[in-house]
């Protein structure tokens, strides 16, 4: 197979492994760009006056679809482009505001090769601000077992997310 070499192979992953931490200083531009990129026109994601006086929050805040994009970026920064998301579950616990430094960290919680021969890694990821978890995310991502394996090539019954 041509193209980029896999960055992360299944046999290099073990339960308990920590994903590299990602820190990002959130600005109003981060929030507004993320909301509009995800076609979320609701005012609490771009209008501080509305957010404060109608939602009772201290400022505009990151919307959930854009947080999903942050989680995807975080996971595939680790796996490389061969990593193929199968499933993500979010639990929203708090909001992320301009001025916050969000910190993403993750831990491998499980590994398995399914009956179709696809290698899966399960990871628990947290998006936190000042140590408080704002969003928890459970991710199931397929990674290659060998340098010529490609989870993206799986179709139909060979893909069991």
């Amino acid at each position: 197979m041509s193209g980029p070499a896999p960055r992360l192979l299944y046999d290099r992953v073990a339960v308990g492994d920590r994903l590299p931490e990602l820190r990002y200083d959130v600005t109003a531009s981060t929030v507004v760009l993320g909301a509009l990129a995800s076609r979320d026109w609701r005012p609490m994601h771009h209008d501080k006056d509305f957010a404060v006086h109608r939602n009772g929050t201290r400022d505009i805040f990151l919307n959930t679809p854009n947080q999903a994009a942050w989680f995807e970026r975080y996971v595939t920064d680790w796996t490389g482009p061969h990593g193929r998301l199968g499933r993500v579950t979010f639990s929203m616990k708090g909001s992320v505001f301009p001025g916050d430094t969000m910190v993403m960290c993750g831990t491998v919680e499980g590994t398995e090769v399914d009956e179709a021969g696809c290698a899966w890694v399960s990871a628990a990821i947290e998006l936190a601000v000042d140590g408080d978890v704002k969003t928890a995310c459970a991710v199931r991502v397929a990674v290659p077992q060998t340098t010529d394996d490609n989870p993206w090539a799986r179709r139909g019954d060979q893909w069991r997310p």
Binding site: A69, R73, S91, W152
Partner: protein, 187 residues
């Protein structure tokens, strides 16, 4: 309850269940509701804007050769699934804002629960979504709980699935939302 203010389908469900709103809500479980087509085809501008918004350098979305090698051509980031169904902020002839996840708002109205939050969201990804795809979706109510009391108030949890297919009928994803509709506890 009388059903005033409810859609025709909800009023019919209520009438079928002798005016019992919980039974009416549960009678909707498993049915395909609100089939719709996305308002525009999947396109690369939003893909790049989204990747830019989170500084995602994954070559699948920026390097056509890498995409050709790994994914048989360009694809959209999987987590953009719902992006392709958010309605335009304005469109000719539209007099009311379109509401995504209409079943959620139907349940609030039917069960007369004025407040609601989403407590959990799971997305399962199947065939990749590609530029030019015209996606279709429908909503399925999966469950309505018995009455529960949380720190927010008293109400019911419900689970709604949004099922996404491409123009060839291929399943591309399923979103599952857990909502909690409630009345605030009296202070």
């Amino acid at each position: 309850m009388t059903g005033a203010g409810l859609s025709g389908a909800l009023r019919a469900a209520l009438a079928d269940q002798a005016g019992d709103p919980v039974a009416a809500a549960r009678s909707l479980i498993g049915g395909e509701q609100y089939p719709e087509e996305g308002e525009f085809p999947v396109e690369r501008g939003y893909i790049w804007t989204t990747c830019s918004s989170v500084e995602n350098a994954n070559p699948l979305f920026w390097d056509d050769e890498a995409a050709a090698d790994l994914t048989n051509g360009p694809i959209a980031p999987p987590t953009m699934l719902s992006v392709w169904f958010r309605p335009h902020h304005w469109a000719p002839g539209r007099t009311e804002a379109a509401l995504p996840l209409q079943v959620h708002f139907d349940l609030k109205a039917l069960l007369e629960l004025p407040e609601a939050v989403m407590t959990e969201n799971t997305i399962t990804f199947y065939d990749p979504v590609r530029p030019g795809d015209r996606l279709h979706t429908h909503q399925v109510l999966r469950s309505v709980s018995d009455e529960k009391t949380t720190k927010l108030g008293t109400g019911r949890f419900w689970v709604i699935e949004v099922v996404y297919h491409n123009q060839e009928g291929g399943l591309v994803g399923v979103e599952s939302y857990t909502g909690f509709g409630y009345r605030r506890a009296a202070s």
